[in-house]
């Protein structure tokens, strides 16, 4: 699952470069310009992917190992 979540992160980066609708000025649902609607959707997808990362690839070792030492 750890590798799958990182694959999703890479996918987000690829999906960000949506060259295929560059000059599309139409309104999705008659409301938002397609580029704006697409990238707002990408923001929501990013939140889902980052939830997966915190769920399946979290730094568990840092939760228990971090003990404060006095600074010299």
């Amino acid at each position: 699952m750890r590798y799958a979540t990182w694959l999703f992160v890479c996918l987000l980066v690829v999906l960000h470069q949506d060259y295929w609708q560059w000059n599309d000025a139409s309104l999705v649902g008659g409301l938002l310009p397609s580029a704006l609607a697409y990238h707002a959707g990408l923001s929501i997808l990013a939140a889902v992917v980052w939830w997966l990362v915190t769920r399946y690839s979290w730094h568990e070792e840092l939760e228990v190992d971090t003990v404060e030492e006095p600074r010299a």
Binding site: A25, S26, A35, L36, A40, A46, W50, V53, L62, D65
Partner: protein, 515 residues
């Protein structure tokens, strides 16, 4: 005058927060600088968000969308939703852990320990302070522009300030806002700053939504909000509703700009306030959604402002677009409240100011002075004098007008050049002090050359290479944002010099890496 009174009330509220935080202070350095590492996930999310979403997000995004259209959302908002959370996950959590374990309050303390070198601090300090000043400049310029624009006519009765249409002149507004920030940073420390930032996030998010609804309804003119949004977009040109004005290579290169968050000194200090590693889960997941909630209205407003029916005069400067829209479409009380929301975002340069003060105290005064040379009181006086000097320089620079968006890009590009350094310090054992210093020096050099070539930021369209470089066949290296060149040069210097110099000692590595 109503707008002015609301703004004054808001500034007084910020002072009260600083005072309250001062009363609750534990009186220790760790409390003043990192709020005793006590912030939970919600406060951490709100405080971090306000710290990163400055005037750049409100004033800058609206202004640039006015010029370039809806593509501005993809340039930075959706990109930041991916990259900021990535940086929080890969950089913030491990740095928080090391900071807590070894008692760091600044980045330079970490780098000096990790690289076993004093010189890395000498090299980094002036560059980081310079970049933070240019970042704080966004807030100073943005707040001055907004207050000046929405208070137009407030002093018409007494005939004051005719040169700024009887509103508060921008330099005076910037100076007053900076003074308020100075007072609550000095007295409230990091706790006061975190509280102020959390409140500022709530204010600018809620007022941002109100602004969006009010202006949409004013532009559309019907009782149906969604129909009003549709009409507002339909009134704009096709070029504004697509990305016709944005070259594709430029769009790609914007993806590197949000990497800068990994090296912001004020964000580093904010990370250290976290109570636990788990407190970062909320910011990591919530950031893309909160950025969307803020940028979607701002970019839409900027695009709407470009339509002739918006009432915003053609050729309005980017920094004035949001204020001009508010002035045109909201009543005096609402305009005052909305301005307080914009000010809330602009004033988040408070954390930049406290970070600069902390760096000066920890990395210069405490680091170089022999133990006991200065009393705590003397150190505090020196820190306040340094912060005063930094604010004075920032105010002086604000007199030279630049678009907030471009100022931000140059500042972020410098920080992105330092990304390889922090990444390698955490994940590459072979990184050496010489490699790190070569990377910093290369970043400073290439950033300075490109900034000079852009006419010190005057040329908003500056890209590098300045014309396409032919490769084999049909392939060319297209002009891209300078950040790409800066990042490549910095990485090349870091890797090549590290590999040519002796590796760090096992004793140093054992402090930072598990076997």
């Amino acid at each position: 005058m109503t707008q002015l009174l609301v703004i004054i009330a808001y500034l007084l509220l910020m002072l009260v927060i600083g005072y309250a935080a001062n009363r609750l202070s534990r009186g220790t350095a760790v409390d003043y600088f990192v709020a005793s590492r006590s912030l939970g996930p919600v406060l951490l999310l709100l405080s971090l968000f306000s710290t990163t979403m400055t005037a750049f997000a409100l004033v800058g995004s609206t202004g640039r969308a006015y010029t370039l259209g809806v593509g501005v959302y993809g340039l930075l908002a959706s990109a930041s939703g991916i990259v900021h959370s990535l940086c929080f996950f890969l950089i913030a959590v491990p740095l928080w852990s090391l900071g807590k374990r070894h008692g760091y309050t600044t980045q330079i303390q970490f780098f000096r320990d990790r690289l076993d070198s004093d010189w890395i601090g000498v090299l980094l300090f002036p560059f980081l302070v310079g970049l933070v000043v240019s970042y704080a400049l966004l807030g100073v310029v943005g707040s001055g522009a907004v207050v000046s624009n929405v208070t137009k006519g407030a002093f018409a009765g007494c005939g004051w300030f005719p040169q700024s249409a009887y509103g508060v002149p921008a330099p005076i507004a910037s100076a007053v806002v900076s003074l308020v920030v100075f007072v609550y940073v000095i007295f409230g420390g990091m706790r006061g700053t975190a509280w102020a930032n959390a409140l500022q996030t709530v204010l600018f998010m809620s007022f941002g939504v109100v602004t969006f609804v009010v202006i949409a309804n004013s532009l559309g003119g019907t009782d149906d909000f969604l129909e009003n949004v549709r009409q507002a977009f339909l009134a704009t040109s096709e070029a504004q509703r697509s990305r016709a004005k944005i070259p594709k290579p430029l769009f790609l290169s914007f993806l590197f700009i949000p990497l800068s968050v990994a090296m912001f000194p004020h964000v580093f200090q904010n990370w250290l306030t976290a109570r636990s590693a788990g407190a970062f889960k909320w910011p990591i997941v919530g950031y893309p959604l909160m950025i969307m909630a803020l940028w979607l209205p701002c970019v839409s407003l900027g695009v709407w402002a470009s339509a002739p029916s918006s009432g915003v005069p053609a050729g309005t400067s980017e920094n004035q677009v949001l204020a001009a829209l508010v002035h045109q479409h909201a009543g005096p009380l609402l305009a005052g409240l909305l301005t307080a929301g914009v000010l809330a975002a602009s004033m988040s340069f408070d954390s930049q100011i406290i970070a600069v003060g902390t760096m000066f105290t920890e990395d210069v005064v405490v680091h170089y002075a022999p133990a006991g040379r200065f009393s705590d009181r003397q150190i505090i006086v020196m820190t306040r004098l340094f912060i005063t000097a930094v604010l004075a320089v920032t105010l002086a620079l604000s007199l030279f007008p630049r678009a907030v968006f471009d100022l931000g890009l140059w500042s972020f590009s410098g920080f992105t050049g330092l990304f390889p350094l922090v990444y390698a310090a955490l994940y590459w054992r072979r990184l050496t002090a010489a490699g790190a210093m070569a990377s910093v020096a290369a970043t400073v050099a290439i950033w300075s050359v490109l900034f000079y070539r852009s006419g010190f930021g005057q040329n908003a369209k500056y890209a590098f290479p300045e014309s396409p470089i032919p490769l084999v066949g049909q392939w060319v290296v297209p002009p891209m944002l300078p950040v790409v060149t800066i990042l490549c040069v910095s990485t090349a210097a870091l890797v090549s010099v590290s590999l040519c110099t002796p590796p760090p000692s096992s004793g140093t590595l054992s402090k930072f890496f598990r076997d």
